[in-house]
């Protein structure tokens, strides 16, 4: 149900970013970029209190008029960002969590591939498939 899904590396450069192609992709890229600030803020805030028990799912980063941005951080500081259309109000929090979980699992599979060097852009067809599935749902 997402309109844009992005995977950001630890150094805050994108490993993978894909949007529903019919829209202005640059706008989503910009949104994801700005959402990184919010992610950093959440990480630093939570990190102090919980240490390494930080919740991976960050929740709604910030809503705008047209869409909502959700964030998820792995323990290796790889960030997943999902931009969801605001018109999809039926999306529950649990669904977003499950989407992130699926992303994380697929990302782990990509990392396990010995032919994939960490830091490279993700060029896995399986990963693409998963992401497409998530984006197609939103229609």
């Amino acid at each position: 149900m997402a309109v844009c899904i992005a995977v950001i590396a630890k150094e805050n450069y994108p490993l993978y970013i894909r949007s529903v192609p019919t829209q202005n992709e640059l706008k989503f890229h910009y949104t994801v970029h700005t959402s990184l600030d919010v992610v950093e803020e959440k990480i630093s805030a939570v990190g102090k209190s919980l240490g390494d028990q930080r919740e991976l799912y960050l929740g709604l980063l910030y809503p705008t008029e047209d869409y909502k941005v959700y964030g998820y951080v792995t323990n290796s500081k790889v960030k997943f960002v999902i931009v969801v259309d605001s018109s999809n109000t039926s999306l529950r929090d649990n669904e977003i969590r499950s989407m992130f979980r699926k992303l994380h699992n697929t990302f782990t599979d990509v990392m396990c591939n010995p032919f994939h060097n960490p830091g490279d852009t993700i060029q896995s067809k399986a990963f693409d498939g998963i992401v497409s599935g998530m984006m197609v749902q939103s229609g």
Binding site: V38, E41, K42, A45, G59, L60, L61, Y62, P63, R92, D93, T108, D109, V110, C112, N113, P114, F115, H116, Q123, S124, K125, A126
Partner: protein, 792 residues
């Protein structure tokens, strides 16, 4: 030995032949049957063969070394082309056609020769091709496998002629393909691919103009694959045409191993086409390669080693990455033997120009015990550019080598998991049975049918309700009842059966099974645990029904089902005893024995459900049974026969819970051993009843209980306070056999009614619970939505 310069094609061809003949893999070919057959197949006069042998120096050495073998082959070629046999001619003859070996497998060789020659001179190709054409594609396939570049064929089961790795000349290949549009298409590419891969691994081949085919010299294993091709001919449709003939020929020379392979191939052959099937020789080749990296066939190849290995194939990293994704089935970063074979196969195919599939073809999927081999649709030719070529599908995972399968199964972590699961469940069952043996105190009980009692959170409620209702009672039950809540709470926490031990074990067992279902939801797990807790008790019965996790039935009608089942199973003993244990209710006096026992059981199960509904149904429940008791009594006496134990059990159980159950139970107890068991079940249901206005039913039951008293005595200490109260009030009833039947029937009726009422109450409570949960979830969602704002 004279130095021998061979062209690339010759080199390949010869090395294939050498690999074929090198049965011992010692790089030295003795004058064994293979060599002799080969030479015989050259259709040369024997004296010529002798001369050749002498010339190449094998006579001197007594065996054929590689160089001798090559020399011999070259001499054969020379002889076949009609040139005089001279050592000098070895290097001087240019454009020498490859030696042709015509016998049996030699057909393949001939084809190979033809192909090779084609690549070299294009001259003999048409002839040879024509000659070869009649050969089933199997041959062609074999031909495809050009002589392995690597001098190290790994002849597993050297098969006959096909060993002459026919050069995979694309033209011939394609011709074959066209002509044998069947499975050959798959085979050749695969075979060729395998060869090709290695060729490329070892030497970039640019032998023929045909391109990839020619350039790919099938690895030595290809030889085997050829053999298997022929072997496969009969079973597989991939090799149309000559397969039968070639098979026959090959069979003559086929070794036992190859025959075995044939059988395996036949086994593997299935009805549908599969371009990705791995042939036996290919698989053997892959296995040998696997061994070079990981000597233990059951072990794993780590990702780094696999990366290096496959990088040698010079495929682009992206494609290798994709291949890895496809083949690493369990996503563990390491390759098992099957995964390795699949990956290798894909690499081979890719090198031969086949596009990588999007999904792992079914035939390449590692065989999992619990997976259906046909789960995945086999990759169609579309992927590889074939159209309509019937490809035989052999479930590749049906191991070509039984040992492989075994190894795979051993390696498969899923198997372990499944095995573990079964072990656990069996152990839990064992424990259950153990407990059940202890439970039945009544020796008369022939069959111990643990009455399934579903331990659900609702039980707690039921018990709470009971507590509330009977809290004022000064009966013995009160004290036990007071002690019961904590126990019940514990029970509820352990969604286990009546017996703590068994329940715990079962719960663990089922929780493990839950883990296998990979359901991370703790709720589900708990449910399943609770759902399955009563199961073990049930299992104790002779034909133990398999434990069923009822994630969602814990509080629903399953209770009724269990009760009904338990009642009918008449196995209340275990449960009765269990019930007794759980509440730890002190043994009650006679009148209250049966009732308490039953009531306890019922209370445990029905407490939760009935507690909630106590407000509504309790009154109804007790009243109904009360009314029913008497009417049933008459009815029973009049018409019904004291039925089987189940009925009695049910009655006894019902009695326990409702006050009416008590008297019924007493009646039953006379002749019913299972009352306890059933009582436990009924108690669950009946608990709601008893929870109802105890006083009223008590009185009525007292009357009937008098008659049923004896039965009640059989029931052990009771749990539910209500029951205790009821029982305590009941005067001892003299046993009367004559009235037993009627009483039993009446009690049965009453218990049934109580059961239905309790069931209804239970469902209502559950519905309420669901509503509340939904509200809670919605509230949580709202909270989540509001939370982010707090950060901004």
């Amino acid at each position: 030995m004279e130095s021998l310069t061979l062209s690339d094609v010759e080199q390949k061809y010869y090395s294939d032949l050498f690999a074929y003949c090198d049965t011992d893999n010692t790089k030295k070919v003795a004058s064994n049957g293979r060599v002799l057959d080969l030479f015989r197949a050259a259709q040369l006069p024997s004296e010529v063969v002798l001369q050749i042998t002498e010339l190449c120096g094998a006579t001197r050495l007594g065996h054929f070394g590689r160089s001798q073998f090559y020399i011999a082959l070259k001499l054969i070629a020379i002889a076949q082309s009609g040139l005089p046999l001279r050592v000098e001619s070895l290097n001087s003859v240019k454009d020498l056609p490859l030696p042709r070996f015509v016998v049996g497998k030699n057909e393949a060789e001939a084809r190979h020769a033809a192909l090779y020659q084609d690549t070299d001179s294009q001259g003999l190709y048409p002839a040879s091709a024509a000659a070869v054409m009649p050969r089933p594609p199997g041959r062609g396939l074999q031909n495809k496998k050009a002589p392995p570049v690597e001098p190290q064929p790994e002849p597993t089961s050297p098969v006959v002629s096909p060993d002459q790795s026919p050069p995979t000349s694309p033209p011939s290949w394609r011709k074959h393909k066209r002509q044998h549009s069947g499975g050959n298409v798959d085979r050749p590419p695969v075979v060729a691919a395998a060869g090709a891969v290695w060729t490329q691994f070892r030497e970039p081949q640019t032998v023929s103009a045909e391109g990839m085919w020619a350039s790919h010299s099938p690895p030595p294993p290809g030889q085997e694959s050829w053999v298997s091709f022929t072997a496969d001919t009969p079973p597989s449709s991939t090799l149309p045409g000559m397969h039968p003939s070639s098979v026959q020929e090959s069979t003559t020379i086929r070794t036992v191993a190859s025959a075995a392979m044939t059988n395996e191939i036949q086994r593997q052959s299935s009805g549908y086409d599969d371009p990705w099937k791995i042939t036996d020789e290919q698989r053997q080749y892959y296995i040998n390669q696997f061994k070079t990296i990981q000597p233990d066939l059951t072990g794993f190849i780590p990702g780094s080693a696999a990366k290096e290995f496959f990088t040698k194939s010079k495929l682009p990293i992206l494609e290798l990455s994709h291949i890895w994704e496809l083949s690493d089935f369990d996503k563990d970063g390491a390759l098992t033997l099957d995964e390795f074979c699949a990956a290798f196969h894909l690499v081979v195919a890719r090198k031969n120009g086949y596009d990588l599939p999007e999904k792992l073809p079914e035939s390449l999927m590692p065989k999992l015990i619990d997976l259906d081999d046909s789960a995945e649709v086999p990759e169609q030719t579309a992927d590889v550019g074939y159209s309509g070529s019937p490809v035989e599908v052999t479930p590749n995972k049906s191991p070509s080598m039984p040992s492989l399968n075994q190894a795979w199964q051993e390696m498969n972590p899923n198997n372990e998991q499944w095995e573990t699961f079964s072990e656990r469940s069996s152990s839990s069952q064992t424990l259950t049975q153990f407990d059940s043996n202890i439970a039945p105190a009544d020796p008369d009980t022939a069959i111990v049918h643990p009455v399934p009692i579903r331990m659900t959170p609702s039980k707690i409620h039921m018990q709470e309700m009971e507590l509330k209702r009977t809290g004022s009672d000064n009966n013995h039950p009160t004290s036990p009842l007071l002690t019961k809540p904590p126990e019940l709470d514990e029970e509820a926490k352990l969604p286990a059966s009546m017996k703590f031990v068994a329940a715990n074990t079962v719960g663990e067992g089922y929780s493990s099974s839950d883990s296998f279902t990979s359901d991370p939801e703790p709720i589900t797990r708990q449910r399943s645990q609770s759902g399955t807790s009563p199961e073990p008790l049930k299992v104790v019965a002779p034909p133990p029904p398999p434990p069923r996790p009822h994630p969602t039935h814990s509080r629903s009608s399953s209770l009724d089902m269990n009760r009904t089942f338990a009642a009918t199973s008449a196995a209340g003993q275990a449960q009765a005893s269990a019930i007794a244990y759980l509440p730890a209710v002190p043994p009650r006096p006679l009148p209250t024995q049966a009732a308490p026992g039953a009531a306890a059981g019922l209370a445990t199960t029905a407490a939760a459900t009935t507690t909630a509904a106590a407000t509504t149904s309790p009154q109804q429940i007790p009243q109904q049974p009360n009314f029913a008791d008497f009417s049933q009594f008459q009815a029973f006496a009049a018409s019904e026969q004291p039925s089987s134990l189940p009925e009695v059990d049910k009655h006894s159980e019902v009695e326990k819970a409702p006050e009416g159950a008590g008297p019924l139970r007493t009646v039953k107890s006379d002749g019913q051993v299972d009352e306890r068991a059933s009582a436990s079940v009924n108690s669950a249901k009946g608990a709601s009843g008893p929870i109802a206005p105890p006083p009223k039913p008590v009185r009525r039951r007292l009357k009937s209980e008098d008659e049923l008293r004896p039965e009640d005595e059989q029931h052990g200490p009771q749990k539910s306070n209500v029951i205790a109260a009821v029982l305590s009030t009941q005067p001892s009833i003299p046993r009367s056999v004559g009235k037993d039947k009627k009483a039993i029937q009446a009690s049965i009726r009453r218990n049934k009614e109580t059961n239905t009422v309790l069931a209804r109450l239970n469902s209502e409570l559950q519905q309420q619970l669901k509503d509340l949960l939904e509200e809670r979830i919605s509230l949580e969602v709202q909270l989540e939505q509001l939370r982010p704002f707090s950060h901004l």
